[in-house]
Symmetry: C2
Subunit: 335 residues, 2 copies
């Protein structure tokens, strides 16, 4: 049987268990030219919360009654396509379910699991999440040695990769995270030069802490959080700063968006804010994944995973993203 | 005597007459290497409101007791610099006063008033305001023929220039302005393809009107207004849209900034928002001013001026910017 974690209704604000349903269905068969993948690991990401809303976005909303869309890595179970044979490991944009029907193309690609310690790494370091940091920093922000890089959500899966890649290319790195444990990990595990705890601080207080860490202003902001954290960052832009707008996790469960109140400094500092999605870079995943693997092998890049187990625990696992409980890239192991 | 329109205290919200003082002082003498200009016309611009606040910005705040900073055009009255001789016409960043002391360099440059119908044109079409539109559209947004250009504050001095330059380079132009009279002028005077009146409309209603005018989305937003108008615009971005953040006139008199609530579409549409100031382009003013003059001579570009008279009327004239009363580039004639 195929257990499927469906979106039963659209969450209003914070998702609750009744927004989802775990059902059983027959194992599907491949459509013409397609394949069926036995999913082993499902990626759990803040972006999924956005896909649950019925709002215009970069992808259609998840349809009610469909499994929650997720990047997965797994093994070809059955195939009607000569390029994919049963037993091949593949990654793709599928669903939180035991078996997914998928079409070749797009994000669906074969992966060589013999290169890595765990296939789950294709959902973290060498998948969309790690590579979101790689391309967002190197291709969008284009850091120069000696520049100051400020990362919000810095202990998260994307943020921790961004901070480390920033160090590799010669930036001074400041990470913002919530709570003393995460801030300690920014320094000990991810090599940030400065860690700032945003919790319990006003915009003014947080802005003053950033200013103390970067008196000359920040050249690059890698934004994963939004809200008051971003407002504080905007008060510390260096002239011609670049802001990579990668995520706004503080907003996803808000019915009324906070947005950005401190828009004016972007004008006065002649800064540029880039709305950033990784999708356009999919053709370069293999190339960038090889660089990430090399950095990991050299001990220069540490990618932590938070592996939760069991399809039946999908809701509780997903909610770890919003409670701040997860440490590292959140992954659900289902086989 | 030199009449001077001073900033007496910092306005809180909407400026009131008591924030300013008109005083008389002796006519100054040139400092070593500098000059004294008899101002004939002073530019009145929304940016001046920002300079009155004691907040970090791209220029220092106007000091209390100093004249309100303004671009002016006038005649050299006395000079200690061989490049500027009495009788030469010059423009520069000076003050709202009869006579300004100024140093060569920066925005201070000689102008040829024989080229133009009125010296005030060096404060509009061929000055910082007209050229703000020129460089912001052509150099920052880089429009392509057939693209949709959306301009807020479209009946204003910058906006009306942007819309017309957009038509010259082959864009479809949509202008947003307040009230039926301004909207009529967008169509009859400035050649916009569509005029939208924002007054009395919610974000949702305004967004729907923009969508009806540009069902495929907007490629370029030239933003002069901010607030709910900008929020509505953000709901209509085409993929990879460019937003030129040139001004936020709806914010300048707010103690609590509204900012931008609809930040998320910038991410999902992979749009880029450019904080834009004209200052970096000052070395190219003569080149661009010649192009603007040529377009005006050919009847392809109409620059309207709203010339108010008398230094004693500076406050009332300035406030026309915020009541929506002014039509065209606002200028104060003082000699």
């Amino acid at each position: 049987m195929n257990r499927r974690f469906l979106l039963a209704r659209r969450p209003h604000g914070v998702p609750v268990p009744a927004d989802f349903a775990l059902v059983e269905a027959p194992v599907p068969t491949p459509p013409p030219g397609g394949l069926v993948v036995r999913n082993h690991y499902c990626s759990l990401d803040p972006a999924q919360r956005g896909w649950m809303d019925d709002a215009p976005s970069y992808m259609p909303p998840i349809a009610l009654g469909d499994p929650v869309r997720a990047t997965t890595v797994g093994v070809v179970h059955a195939s009607d396509n000569p390029e994919f044979r049963p037993g091949d490991w593949v990654m793709g944009l599928n669903g939180i379910e035991d078996y997914s029907v998928c079409a070749p193309g797009g994000f669906t690609m074969k992966v060589d699991v013999t290169q890595v310690a765990s296939p789950s790494l294709f959902l973290s370091a060498m998948g969309a999440v790690g590579l979101t940091g790689y391309f967002g920093l190197l291709e969008v922000a284009k850091p120069q040695p000696g520049e100051v890089l400020l990362v919000s959500g810095a202990a998260g899966a994307v943020g921790s990769a961004v901070g480390q890649i920033g160090k590799i290319v010669g930036c001074r790195t400041i990470g913002i995270a919530g709570g003393p444990d995460k801030c300690r990990r920014l320094l000990t595990d991810y090599g940030f030069d400065v860690a700032i705890d945003y919790k319990g601080k006003s915009v003014t207080e947080l802005a003053a802490e950033i200013r103390a860490a970067a008196p000359g202003g920040v050249n690059i902001v890698f934004e994963n959080v939004g809200g008051t954290v971003m407002d504080a960052e905007m008060l510390n832009l260096a002239k011609h700063a670049r802001i990579v707008l990668c995520g706004l996790i503080s907003e996803y469960n808000l019915a009324e968006k906070y947005g950005l109140r401190n828009l004016w400094p972007i004008l006065t500092q002649q800064a540029t804010l880039y709305g950033y999605l990784i999708m356009d870079y999919a053709p370069r995943f293999a190339e960038a994944g090889a660089v990430m693997a090399q950095w990991m092998a050299e001990g220069r890049l540490r990618i932590d995973e938070d592996v939760q187990e069991g399809l039946e625990n999908a809701y509780e696992a997903f909610m770890r993203l919003f409670t701040g409980a997860n440490t590292g890239k959140l992954v659900l192991k289902i086989a």
